[in-house]
């Protein structure tokens, strides 16, 4: 099963290498990993999508916890959460097919971010399913280049994966 982990880490150089190294060393499979800063400049947040059964997940979580730079880990898979991913896709379309592609973009609420003589670059955000569907719809036109950010996620409502500086590591 796929799990989505929200991981708060100290904003230290090398923290990404530590996390990535841990996954490869122990043979855990990362589906995607997105990292960026948070409301607190000393803290970054990683959204890690990992594949594995309950036992694997338990090991992933515990081993991540052992990294001194990891402050907090939240497996939000079972919770209500909003997740988003952004994709940029460059397709091979000349003027003749532009209209068609723009219609597809409309359906997915995607935006055109660049227009070349023979290409069109689109931007789309959404969850996994939407991004996959968008990609599939454009495939027939010939995808020249595609890049995805990896998923980021946040709990809905009052719940949050925040960091309180009380000197302890939390685990929800």
């Amino acid at each position: 099963m796929r799990h989505t982990l929200a991981v708060l880490v100290e904003n230290n150089p090398g923290v990404l290498a530590r996390v990535a190294g841990l996954f490869s060393r122990r043979g855990f499979n990362i589906d995607s990993l997105a990292v960026g800063r948070t409301e607190n400049p000393d803290v970054s947040r990683m959204t890690i999508v990992v594949e594995g059964d309950a036992r694997v997940l338990e090991q992933v979580t515990k081993q991540l916890h052992k990294l001194v730079d990891v402050i907090k880990i939240n497996d939000i898979t079972a919770d209500e959460y909003v997740d988003r991913e952004l994709v940029l896709i460059k397709v091979n379309v000349g003027p003749a097919q532009r209209g068609e592609v723009m219609q597809i973009a409309d359906v997915f609420r995607a935006r055109i971010v660049d227009l070349g003589r023979k290409t069109l670059t689109l931007e789309c955000t959404g969850n996994d399913g939407k991004i996959n569907a968008f990609e599939e719809s454009l495939r027939p036109y010939g995808i020249k280049e595609l890049v995805r950010t990896g998923k980021i996620a946040m709990l809905r409502g009052f719940k949050y994966t925040g960091y309180h500086d009380n000197g302890t590591k939390e685990d929800n």
């Binding site: 090398g14 090991q59 081993q63 001194v68 402050i71």
Partner: protein, 552 residues
């Protein structure tokens, strides 16, 4: 007050209670060595950085305090790597300090630059590259805190030369500030209650005790638990000394080179209480057949060890000493146990034994070492057959008296580690039991022990082979002895050329006298024991077999 980075380093080491460091100088640690010149710190100059790392490790294993080693950048730092990995695998508190090229040259493949924080990422509990001298004091405080708390381990601090040579205002940094690091020492009362219930319901309990008992100072509690339950105690290689080896409830070591009775006990128990262990493959062998009918309680400070290798029924996460105390409080002593009686019978029926044939046998040598030293010295071993004989034929009564490379199995560890043990225990006898192969990996440290008059006694169990590998080739590769025959120097002359005493013993009748002579000599002594060349370590679980299917 303004201080240089190097002075801050020395000050911080003193503040952490460090009295000795093991090191080797070079260009990128010049400022540090300048500060050491008149510092109130003992520095032991080894002959190889690997020696310094193992010495720091040995010092830590003997004393329980973090060992400290120091090396220059590049090759100096990479020479520490084996020693750091060794400490990591056995959860030994250690702080390794390396010099680094100046910050402006970092990442440019500069002269003697090695990315040592990158290299040691998977073999340290944590590591640091200090880029600003202002951070140095705080970093050192954190490093020592991390190294010695929770599940101990090595921490490396890489210090560029302009950081050790820079200046900053120094003030004590106060406690470590580590939001991402916490140690849970108190076990969950509910898990303790579950463990107690399972223990009360058990008829055939076995305690499986490891290095965590020694690291956690839980040997007294372990003894109490065993005596309350009348339960046999099987220790891992790392756990030897954590339970008195001559106690009637001791069944010695379990696993691949365990005793038959320990392995039988584990195979037939209905409750296995793992204390400070990690269900290593050298212990469990075929996992599915390990303690097949048993409920498993696993007590450990590291939550990640729970369920890593085997499914555990009752995890108790916390300091092992604290956890055992909590469990013991709730137990009633057992007055009799048929299970114990059964094991006593196994002990009589399947003793660990060897055949005498007039030639010098390694087992006899080690037994005689025990007789002469009455089991009261610190034994430090290398890796190979002699290590297993030292585990079988010498009896360990107290924690920290058997020091060995367990997890990494590092040949070359023994002698430099013994050097570190001797530094930590100046008033005790330190006996290094090594092999002819292993000793040759770090014999250069003879110069160090002679220089500092560290009176380590080195017994070389000399079979002219990389014996453990030869044994596998004999048993599983049709005696095709491929590159396992190993020559060496005349070890007596080697010792003498360094200024140590050398003795050779080739008859059983001479072993005692030679050992007594070695103990009388005030300085380091090398005793060469040319032994029966093709002796095997038995009993032995062939790889992949259940632990009760033993050869020998």
């Amino acid at each position: 007050m303004k201080k240089t980075g190097a002075e801050i380093l020395v000050q911080s080491l003193l503040a952490e209670g460090v009295d000795t460091i093991f090191g080797y100088p070079g260009g990128m640690v010049l400022p540090i060595y300048d500060a050491l010149y008149d510092a109130d710190l003992r520095h032991i100059l080894t002959r190889h950085e690997q020696g310094a790392a193992h010495a720091a490790d040995g010092y830590a294993r003997a004393s329980g305090k973090p060992g400290v080693c120091l090396a220059t950048s590049g090759p100096g730092a990479t020479n520490l790597v084996t020693g750091i990995a060794n400490a990591y695998m056995d959860s030994i508190p250690m702080v390794a300090i390396t010099g680094q090229v100046v910050t402006s040259l970092l990442g440019k493949d500069s002269f003697q630059e090695a990315d040592i924080t990158g290299i040691t990422l998977p073999i340290t509990k944590h590591n640091y590259l200090v880029k600003d001298v202002q951070d140095l004091a705080q970093t050192l405080r954190e490093a020592f805190y991390i190294a010695r708390t929770g599940r101990p381990g090595p921490v490396l601090i890489d210090i560029p030369r302009d950081v050790s040579g820079g200046t900053a205002d120094y003030a004590d940094p106060g406690p470590a500030r580590l939001p991402g690091y916490s140690v849970n020492t108190k076990p969950d009362p509910e898990q303790v209650a579950r463990a107690v219930r399972a223990i009360e319901e058990s008829e055939r309990p076995v305690i499986y005790a490891g290095g965590g008992v020694i690291n956690g100072g839980a040997h007294e509690e372990l003894l109490r638990l065993a005596e309350i339950l009348l339960a046999p105690v099987a220790t891992t290689l790392m756990g030897l000394g954590g339970f008195p080896g001559n106690h009637p409830l001791s069944v010695g070591m379990l696993g691949m080179h365990g005793s038959k009775y320990a392995n039988y006990a584990v195979s037939e128990c209905d409750l296995l209480i793992g204390v400070g262990v990690r269900f290593d493959d050298r212990v469990t062998s075929k996992l599915e057949a390990f303690a097949p009918g048993a409920t498993i309680i696993h007590i450990d400070i590291d939550p990640a060890e729970i369920g890593k290798n085997v499914g555990v029924d009752i995890p108790v996460v916390g300091d092992v000493r604290n956890s055992l105390q909590k469990i013991i409080e709730c137990l009633q002593p057992r007055l009799e146990s048929r299970w114990r009686d059964k094991i006593q019978n196994w002990k009589k029926e399947y003793p660990i034994e060897f055949v005498e044939n007039g030639r010098l046998k390694p087992q006899e040598v080690i037994k005689e070492m025990y007789n002469v030293t009455r089991g009261e010295v610190r034994v430090v071993t290398d890796v190979g057959q002699h290590q297993m004989w030292a585990a079988h034929y010498y009896t360990y009564h107290r924690p920290r008296t058997f020091i060995t490379s367990g997890g990494l199995g590092t040949m070359g560890f023994g002698f430099p580690a013994a050097l570190g043990v001797q530094v930590a225990c100046p008033d005790e006898t330190v006996l290094c039991i090594t092999g002819d192969g292993s000793f040759q990996m770090n014999s250069q440290e003879l110069a160090t022990v002679v220089h500092y008059n560290l009176p380590v006694k080195i017994g070389i169990i000399n079979n002219g082979y990389l014996g453990m590998v030869r044994q596998w080739q004999e048993l599983f590769y049709n005696r095709r002895y491929s590159y396992v025959e190993i020559t060496g120097p005349d070890f007596v002359k080697l010792a003498e050329s360094y200024g140590a005493v050398g003795i050779r013993v080739s008859k059983k009748s001479e072993v005692r006298e030679a050992m007594e002579e070695a103990m009388r000599v005030p300085g380091p002594v090398v005793i060469d024991f040319p032994i029966e060349r093709e002796e095997n370590v038995l009993p032995f679980v062939p790889p992949g077999e259940p632990i009760n299917k033993m050869l020998g």
